[in-house]
């Protein structure tokens, strides 16, 4: 690809109501091309009902070197986990 293209991250929603999940990335020069490329690459076999594309440079990502201060503090706080409740039978997609 030429220097004019950006990388866009693609998120696909497989069904109404479900979250958009990261599917991969595409190259494109503008948002319409990104959307069409995402459609052509990632929804060819009925994988989706909705697509989001986000320019990769617009995503703010945590850094590996911050991982200790970001994630370790939750290790010893079991009471924050919702595992002490029983799930009602009717609740789906949780």
């Amino acid at each position: 690809m030429s220097e004019n293209t950006d990388v866009w991250e693609v998120f696909i929603q497989s069904k109404n109501g479900l979250p958009h999940k990261h599917a991969g990335s595409v190259h494109a020069t503008d948002k319409e091309m990104a959307l069409q490329n995402a459609r052509d690459l990632y929804t060819r076999r009925k994988e989706g009902s909705s697509i989001w594309v986000v320019k990769a440079t617009n995503i703010v990502a945590s850094q590996a070197e911050d991982s200790d201060s970001f994630f370790d503090p939750s290790d010893d706080k079991m009471y924050r986990h919702p595992t002490f409740y029983t799930m009602p039978d009717g609740a789906k997609n949780i």
Binding site: M1, T5, V26, H27, A28, T29, D30, E32, M33, Q36, N37, D40, L41, R44
Partner: protein, 248 residues
């Protein structure tokens, strides 16, 4: 050959021949994404062609859809001249497809209202795909026309070169007129003002100059084609001709 059969073949042949052209981009696209996009379009068109050939086969009662697709000679194909034109460079393909896609959308909208239920159903089904194809081709045309000096010059040349094949899309021969007056077929000539409007809109956004309507090539309705169709068919029909009835 019955009128309905002949008419159905014209529609099927447009989809098949453009589909074959788009399949020639497979592994030759300018980028990975575009390669897949063009082959997707090709597969859509083969799907459309298959629907119309299956219907042709049921009207004929003898020949199969594959017989129609693969075992006719050049003079027995009735596709519009524009779809058989060579891919050329990427801009050539985009210009050819944009001009045809605008027509295809307008044609399928009308065919969707045909008194013939099968043609109406196939028309409505194809319309969804045609709309996407137009979105793909016209967006690219705007990008290239309103792009760099080089891309603009290239697609303007493509446009000037292919323009003489656009008149063929709007011709009405005796068969077309009969099918239209019986409520089955589409009045191609009546699509022209809408086509002009849409094409002018796209060309305006692409900052391209619309060529003059001067001499227009004709002949496809009688099976008279440009020199490119024979080469396309020899490649497309090779397997069926060499190994008749070959199965996967």
């Amino acid at each position: 050959m019955s009128n309905l059969l002949n008419y159905t073949l014209r529609i099927a042949d447009n989809a098949l021949i453009l589909g074959q052209r788009m399949s020639q981009w497979c592994s030759n696209g300018p980028t990975l994404e575009e390669d897949i996009a063009m082959v997707n379009i090709s597969l859509d068109l083969f799907g459309q062609a298959n629907g119309f050939y299956e219907y042709a086969s049921s009207i004929d009662g003898n020949k199969s859809a594959d017989d129609f697709a693969f075992l006719r000679s050049e003079r027995e194909y009735f596709n519009s001249l524009i779809v058989e034109q060579k891919n050329g460079h990427f801009g050539d393909t985009i210009v050819r497809n944009s001009l045809f896609d605008v027509y295809a959308v307008l044609f399928y909208i009308k065919l969707g209202k045909s008194k013939d239920e099968t043609l109406a159903a196939l028309g409505s089904k194809s319309l969804k795909e045609a709309k996407y194809h137009l979105r793909h081709s016209s967006n690219w045309l705007i990008r290239l026309g309103d792009g760099t000096e080089e891309s603009k010059e290239k697609v303007q040349t493509s446009l000037n070169d292919i323009w003489m094949f656009t008149g063929n899309l709007f011709e009405m021969d005796e068969l077309d007129s009969e099918m239209f007056s019986s409520g089955i077929g589409v009045n191609n000539t009546a699509l022209k003002p809408e086509w002009d409007k849409e094409v002018n809109k796209i060309l305006g956004k692409a900052k391209l100059t619309r060529p003059e309507d001067s001499y227009m090539q004709t002949g496809s309705k009688k099976g008279v084609h440009t020199e490119h169709l024979g080469h396309l068919l020899s490649e497309m029909q090779y397997l069926q001709r060499t190994h008749p009835d070959a199965k996967w």
